[in-house]
Symmetry: C2
Subunit: 241 residues, 2 copies
C-alpha cells in the first residue's frame, strides 16, 4: 500500500488535522497504472477525482495528424482532475508516463468535504490557481524560448516540484523516468532534438543522467540557461512575496 505523500493543496494553504483526515477518509480506493495507461479521457465527466501517490502522469491533448501536446506533468501529492468536477467534463486527458499509483476520491465525497470545510475548498481553489500559473509559464516556455532554454527550464521546474513533494534526490536531482519523446511532446519539440539538447546540457556539465535519474550538477547555470525564476510555482504558498 502506497503511503500518502504530502498533499500539494495542503502545502499551498495548510489544513487542520481534522480536514486532512477528512480528505483521507474520502479516498474510496487506490488504483495502479502502468506506463502509458490513461487515467481520464478528454470529455469524461468521471465522477471521481484523483490524487497522485506515486509516479509521473501528464495532462495531454491529441491534435490533428496524431500529434500530442503534453500540457503539464503531475507528480505525487497533486490533485490532477478537479476540473472534471468543477466543469462537468475534462477538456484534456490524463495519462501515466511511468508506473503510477493514484488515490480515488468520488466527486460526491469531495463536494461534501468542501461544503463542511471551507478551508479545504479554498486550498483546492488555490491549487487551481497555481496550476494555472504553471500552465501560463508553459505557454511562454513553448512560445518564446529556444529548445535549449525550454529543456533547462523544464528541468528546473521538475527539480523544484520534486523537492516540494519530498521526492528529490540529494543535490536537487530526481527520478526522471519519462521518455525523451514524452519530454518532446511537453516542449513542442521532436524527440531527436530533445536528445541532442540533453547531450548539450550534459556536455556543458549542467546535468548528468544515470539510470533514469537526473542529477543537477550546476543549479545556478541551469537556472540561467533556462531563464528560470521559481516565482510562478508559488512554493512559498503565495500570499506574500
Amino acid at each position: 500500500m502506497t503511503p500518502f505523500p504530502p498533499l500539494r493543496f495542503d502545502q499551498i494553504a495548510p489544513l487542520a488535522d481534522e480536514e486532512r483526515h477528512a480528505v483521507r477518509q474520502a479516498v474510496a480506493r487506490t488504483r495502479a497504472l502502468r506506463a502509458g495507461e490513461d487515467l481520464v479521457l478528454e470529455g469524461d465527466g468521471g465522477g471521481e477525482c484523483h490524487v497522485i501517490l506515486d509516479g509521473v502522469l501528464c495532462r495531454y491533448k491529441l491534435l490533428q495528424a496524431g500529434k500530442r501536446q503534453i500540457i503539464g506533468f503531475q507528480i505525487a501529492g497533486d490533485m490532477c482532475d478537479l476540473s472534471g468536477l468543477m466543469l462537468g467534463r475534462m477538456d484534456h486527458s490524463i495519462g501515466a508516463l511511468t508506473r503510477a499509483q493514484v488515490a480515488v476520491i468520488p466527486h460526491a465525497a469531495l463536494t461534501e468535504i468542501m461544503e463542511h470545510h471551507p478551508r479545504v475548498a479554498r486550498a483546492l481553489w488555490r491549487e487551481t490557481h497555481v496550476d494555472a500559473s504553471i500552465t501560463r509559464e508553459w505557454v511562454a516556455n513553448v512560445g518564446r524560448r529556444t529548445a535549449y532554454q525550454r529543456l533547462a527550464h523544464l528541468l528546473c521546474e521538475m527539480s523544484l516540484r520534486h523537492q516540494a513533494a519530498g521526492r528529490a534526490l540529494d543535490g536537487g536531482g530526481f527520478a526522471w523516468l519519462v521518455t525523451q519523446a514524452d519530454a518532446a511532446d511537453a516542449m513542442g519539440l521532436s524527440n531527436v532534438h530533445v536528445n541532442r539538447t540533453l547531450q548539450q546540457l550534459r556536455g556543458e556539465g549542467l546535468i548528468a543522467l544515470r539510470g533514469g535519474e537526473v542529477a543537477i550538477l550546476d543549479w545556478p547555470a541551469l537556472q540561467r540557461a533556462g531563464d528560470f525564476s521559481p516565482d510562478y510555482l508559488f512554493l512559498d504558498g503565495g500570499e506574500a512575496r
Copy 2:
C-alpha cells in the same frame, strides 16, 4: 459611463439577481486605459480585481532579451486578475492592447461577497477553471500547430468569445483592434510571419479585414484550418456535454 457587459462568470454559472447586484455594488470606480498601458504588473499584490467593460487586454510575460509572450486575451465581461487575490501576487502582467475601460473591485469587497454568496465564489472558481482550460489549449496551439493553424485557431476562439460577450458583428466577425505584433506575441511567431499568414487566410477567402474588423467569410473552413473545436471554451457553461 461604460455600461456593464454580461459577466462571464455569471454566464458560466448563473447568479441570482441579488448576487449580480452585490457584485455591481462592489465596484469602487472605473478606470480608462490607453492602448499599451498596463493594468497590473507581475509581482503585484494589487488589492483590487478588475472586470473588463470594454476593449481588449492581455495577460503577458516578459522574458530574456525583451521577448514577450502573450498568455491570453481578455475582453468585456472577463474578471482578469482573480489570481492576485487568491495567491497574493500576480505571476504575470496584464496590459491593454486597445483603448479600454475596466471596473475596479477592491479585494476586501470581493472577499466579503464570496463569503456571503457562495454561488458567486463558485462561479468565479469555475471561471478560473475555464480560463485554465483556455490556457491549456494555447499550450497545444503554440506547441504543436503550424503558424497557419495557430492563426486560424486564434481567430475561431476570439470569434466565439466575442459572440458570447455580445460583442460580435454579424456573421461572427469582431473588432480586432490588435496589432499584428501583438498577435505574433500571442502565437509565438514573428510579426512578419503573422502578416503573411493573414494574407494567406484572406487569399483563400476564409476571412476579410477591413478597418480594424475581422469578417469571417467561411466559418467551417476556418475551423478546419485551425483544427478548432469549441469544447475547451465551455460556452455551454460546462456541467453537461
